[in-house]
């Protein structure tokens, strides 16, 4: 929060400094894709990925309820982490946004944002046209510079016409979508700072080069990495709603299957996509149905009590643990087509929600997942049975 405050202060200071000959700030009207950016080749279909159910489930649950807070996928090299995340785009539902809006805003957000800017006429809500776009998935590469992440002045416009136009960054593109960072544990500190700030406030505040812009930036943060390459900053770790762990598949038959599918895909991507088209559509539909069902899903107070007891027994600080389990269990129930959350749903997702929230004890030998499972059994009174 303090960072937001500092930003706000800077902003006031910047305004005070601005002289009378300050060139006008103008926003680009179109959400035109920058030149040279093109869609990269076909992604391996999500439904053709063998195993790694934990990761797939956590991604799907985040589509159903983006408030879960994203997912961190950590695990062995070469286990399909980034393949899976990049495959996600194909099964995502559509959202409505104001036509050509660079921030992917809903009409309400648009009105709020535009009205807040002084010196403008009120916008007639009737005049706003919307369009359907697929939920955006934005890739944040490690080498990105801060100006491209947050957005900056459009230098071409500035040089050629002397107009200060804002060129939105990746955070703007990711609004209401997914922001994916591969090798997230290697991300530079100053970018982590930016992300933490934005993730906490849901807004991106740009105060640089004489530009002052504030726009909504709510996204599902998806990170992946190999824990052997380095640790993640705890504040960032805490931001992730779920933590999926991924290990090398040791089942020979499954591995043969992986190799086969990969070869098939490499040989003829189009035919391969076609083969999985039906399953892809089926999954997409199932996700959309779960999204529609979600508001109707209820949870009994007794389940909530059990969740709270579980978190307490595990010694988890704060309330983010309970909150995440509750939301995730709701999404999971919706995905299974159930209208009522039970401890069965909770059990399925507890590991995902809590694994990274346990206190780290360097001498602890028990796997976090096992520890959580044991506590659930206790809460459910199954301790003897286990």
């Amino acid at each position: 929060m303090t960072q937001t405050e500092t930003a706000a202060k800077k902003r006031t200071a910047a305004k005070a400094k601005a002289g009378s000959d300050e060139p006008a700030i103008q926003e680009p009207k179109k959400a035109a894709k920058p030149a040279g950016k093109k869609k990269s080749g076909l992604a391996f279909p999500f439904t053709a990925i063998v195993g790694q159910e934990e990761m797939k489930l956590s991604l799907i649950l985040n589509i159903i309820d983006p408030r879960i807070g994203g997912v961190l996928v950590m695990g062995h090299r070469g286990t399909g982490k980034s393949t899976t995340v990049r495959a996600l785009a194909e099964v995502l539902p559509f959202i409505d946004r104001v036509k050509d809006d660079i921030y992917n805003r809903t009409p309400d957000q648009y009105l709020e944002g535009e009205d807040a800017r002084k010196g403008r006429k009120a916008i007639d809500p009737e005049s706003i046209r919307t369009e359907k776009i697929p939920v955006p998935v934005v890739d944040l590469p490690l080498g990105a510079t801060e100006d491209r992440v947050c957005g900056t002045i459009d230098i071409e416009q500035a040089l050629t016409s002397g107009v200060k136009a804002f060129e939105p960054g990746l955070l703007a593109q990711a609004n209401r979508g997914f922001l994916y960072i591969d090798e997230v544990n290697l991300l530079d500190d100053h970018l982590v700072d930016v992300l933490l700030d934005v993730a906490a406030s849901g807004k991106n505040v740009v105060e640089r080069e004489g530009i002052s812009i504030r726009h909504p930036a709510r996204f599902v943060l998806v990170g992946s990495g190999n824990p052997e390459e380095g640790e993640l900053r705890p504040q960032l770790l805490d931001r992730f709603g779920l933590h999926a762990r991924i290990i090398t598949i040791l089942d020979v038959a499954k591995r043969v299957d992986i190799v086969k599918r990969r070869r098939e895909f490499d040989e003829d991507p189009d035919a391969f996509m076609k083969k999985y088209n039906r399953e892809q559509l089926k999954l997409q539909k199932k996700i959309q149905q779960a999204k529609d069902l979600l508001p109707q899903v209820t949870m009994d107070d007794s389940v909530l009590t059990d969740i709270a007891r579980l978190c307490m027994n595990l010694g988890i600080d704060g309330h983010r643990g309970e909150l995440t389990i509750t939301r995730t269990a709701h999404a999971h129930a919706a995905f299974m087509g159930d209208k009522e959350v039970t401890m069965r749903h909770v059990r399925d997702v507890a590991g995902l929600c809590l694994r990274h929230r346990l206190r780290k004890d360097p001498l602890e030998t028990l796997d976090a997942g096992e520890k959580i499972e044991r506590e659930i059994a206790k809460v459910l009174g199954e301790a003897e049975a286990v």
């Binding site: 070469g78 490690l142 080498g143 002045i153 598949i249 780290k360 001498l363």
Partner: protein, 618 residues
């Protein structure tokens, strides 16, 4: 340039490169080889057997981030007033070869970018106002000297073929042969041979789609990967591709045993984290395989027979024809012992020849952001400078003082100038050297382990790294290479052998080497944390020559003194933590601290936290 066909020996490396030429989707070839052996000759000759016009880009070790990824072409941008994009080295290698000499010395941010490009097949440029995607589908050919340090596993994982390190790779001796042979041959012969080879590769490329591999064969390869404890699934795919390419080179339409053997040799074995014995298939796969970095150290101690072999793997055995398994085992057995010997040989040679000259000091850091500053006080960040000048151009043009200037000229005032600010990302590397000899060893090791874990828990704050060297018996050993990972430290420090002599000199030497390697990777601050009573009784020679005469006390002291002096001169900080009871001490530890120009801490029954505190206080 020496042609590919003129190079004698290096058969395996040559075979590997040919497979890559046949199937570039193998990702690349890594050739570990001793320094100065001319390994780059082979890599460069590789371009000679590729189709005409295939790009061959050599990556300089000191490449900057914007040259690697791409960015704004400053001159062209200034001249035209429109942003002009300059492609980076990664995208220039698209469709061809990216060659890196001394792969292990490449700094970690460059490695990350290469890894990223390899997994995407393209480069995302999100820098300095640019947002572009450049294709970057290349084969990575890397050579390195294993004694310079390890290549990051994440990168190796994306490279299909790793040529096992054998004496064969050291072709210093063979260079002579090359030269004599060259003298006698005429250029025409060479050209003919090259053309033939090119034709062969072209034919193999055409054959490749027609080669088939049976399910049983795929299964056998995967089974082998499992029993070797190879991490991840990528290697499965690479092994299959290598076997197919090998069959294609032989103009066959079916994969045969020799193809599989070759694939196992150059894809799987170098990634092995454990060595199966004859009965190895009955071993249930381990949950957490030991690290692949040091196969030479793991092998003797690897738990070769876990008692609980089960029925499940027996079943799997039935599925795989016995003959294939036999062959797999042959491939493994004939290849392995040699390599292990040779890896340790490399470090021996190195150690005797002494220092490798001064450590590179490339503290370039990372371009983080631009800030206002004097033109001369640093590197000018042009784009931010232009950005800050741009909006004012019209106002300034109207200014009378500037009336004489041509209309198109940019008017940049002093206030606009922004300079680049770099950040040295790395923190401090703490190298723990723990005396694992004698009776108190167990206790010291436990404390050191606790201290390592505790330092790592907080390492993210300063980007610190920790390494641990244990010394006992004949020589010191790196148990944990410089790392930031708690997981890895926990795993690698799980079993710590103790007892035996005290090879203090060997520990100092190894620590010094580790420090120098870290320096070349941009870590400037290094601190030794020695947990010992300072009573070394084994000389450096013992590590390399088991029959060496036991040096006298004076000699031992001289050795320590010389090493300490060099370490001190290299600006490495040191503390010595003495955990010995007072009445046993003969004052060696304080002396050691003095020689190292470091501080001495007397902490009997030290707790891990106290050691950390001492290390951080310095």
């Amino acid at each position: 340039m020496i042609a590919f066909t003129d190079i004698v020996g290096m058969d395996l490396a040559k075979q590997a490169l040919m497979l890559l030429a046949v199937d570039p989707s193998l990702g690349g070839v890594v050739i570990p080889s001793a320094v100065g052996s001319g390994k780059s000759t082979l890599a460069r000759a590789f371009s000679g057997i590729l189709p005409e016009g295939t790009p061959f880009v050599e990556l300089p070790l000191n490449v900057t981030e914007d040259r690697l990824i791409g960015g704004v072409d400053l001159e062209a941008t200034l001249a035209s007033g429109v942003r002009v994009v300059q492609h980076g080295v990664l995208s220039k290698a698209h469709g061809g070869v990216l060659y890196v000499d001394s792969l292990s010395l490449l700094d970690s941010s460059a490695v990350s970018h290469i890894m990223d490009a390899m997994s995407r097949g393209e480069v995302l440029v999100e820098r300095e106002g640019l947002s572009e995607v450049h294709p970057a589908n290349f084969m990575l050919v890397g050579t390195y000297d294993p004694s310079d340090g390890e290549v990051r596993m994440g990168l190796l994982d994306r490279i299909g073929i790793i040529v096992p390190f054998t004496a064969q790779n050291d072709f210093r001796a063979r260079k002579k042969i090359v030269n004599t042979v060259l003298g006698k041959r005429d250029a025409e012969d060479t050209q003919d041979e090259l053309n033939m080879l090119k034709g062969l590769i072209q034919a193999a490329r055409e054959q490749l789609p027609h080669v088939s591999i049976t399910s049983e064969q795929v299964q056998a390869l995967i089974q082998t990967a499992l029993s070797l404890g190879v991490e991840g699934n990528r290697s499965d795919i690479f092994t299959v591709r290598a076997a197919l390419a090998s069959a294609a080179l032989a103009q066959r339409s079916d994969v045969e045993e020799e193809d599989m053997k070759l694939a196992i040799k150059i894809v799987l074995i170098p990634r092995a984290t454990r060595m199966p014995e004859r009965e190895a298939e009955e071993m249930p796969p381990q949950e957490e395989p030991p690290p692949p970095e040091e196969p030479e150290a793991e092998d003797e101690e690897a738990p070769a027979d876990t008692p609980d072999s089960d029925a499940e793997s027996d079943e799997e055995q039935k599925d795989t024809p016995d003959m294939i398994e036999e062959l797999m085992m042959d491939a493994i057995e004939t290849e392995l012992p040699d390599n292990i010997l040779n890896i340790s040989l490399a470090s021996k040679k190195k150690a005797k020849s002494g220092s490798r000259g001064e450590a590179l000091n490339n503290r370039r850091g990372r371009f983080v952001r631009a800030q206002p500053g004097e033109m001369r006080s640093g590197k000018v960040a042009l784009i931010p400078t232009l950005i800050s000048a741009a909006p004012w151009q019209e106002t300034r043009r109207r200014d009378k003082k500037m009336a004489g200037r041509p209309k198109t000229a940019l008017i940049i005032s002093k206030d606009d100038v922004k300079i680049k600010r770099f950040r040295d990302k790395s923190g401090t590397l703490f190298i723990f050297m723990v005396d694992a000899s004698g009776s108190m060893a167990l206790n010291r090791m436990r404390q050191a382990k606790g201290a390592v874990s505790s330092l790592l828990q907080n390492a993210y704050v300063h980007r610190d790294q920790v390494s641990l060297i244990s010394f006992r018996g004949k020589q010191a050993q790196v148990l944990l290479p410089p790392s930031q990972s708690v997981d890895r430290a926990k795993r690698e420090l799980d079993v710590l052998p103790t007892g035996g002599g005290t090879p203090l000199a060997s520990a100092l030497y190894l620590g010094w080497e580790t420090a120098k390697q870290a320096r070349t990777k941009g870590i400037s601050q290094i601190m030794f944390v020695l947990i010992t009573d300072g009573r070394g009784n084994i000389g450096l020679q013992a590590a390399f020559d088991p029959d060496a005469v036991k040096p006298s006390k004076e000699d031992l002291e001289k050795e320590i003194e010389a090493l300490s002096g060099s370490i001190c001169a290299d600006g490495i900080a040191a503390i010595v933590v003495d955990t010995q009871m007072n009445y046993l001490s003969r004052g060696e530890a304080p002396k050691l601290a003095q020689k190292l120009g470091g501080r001495y801490f007397y902490l009997p029954n030290a707790k891990a936290e106290q050691i950390v505190e001492a290390a951080l206080s310095f």
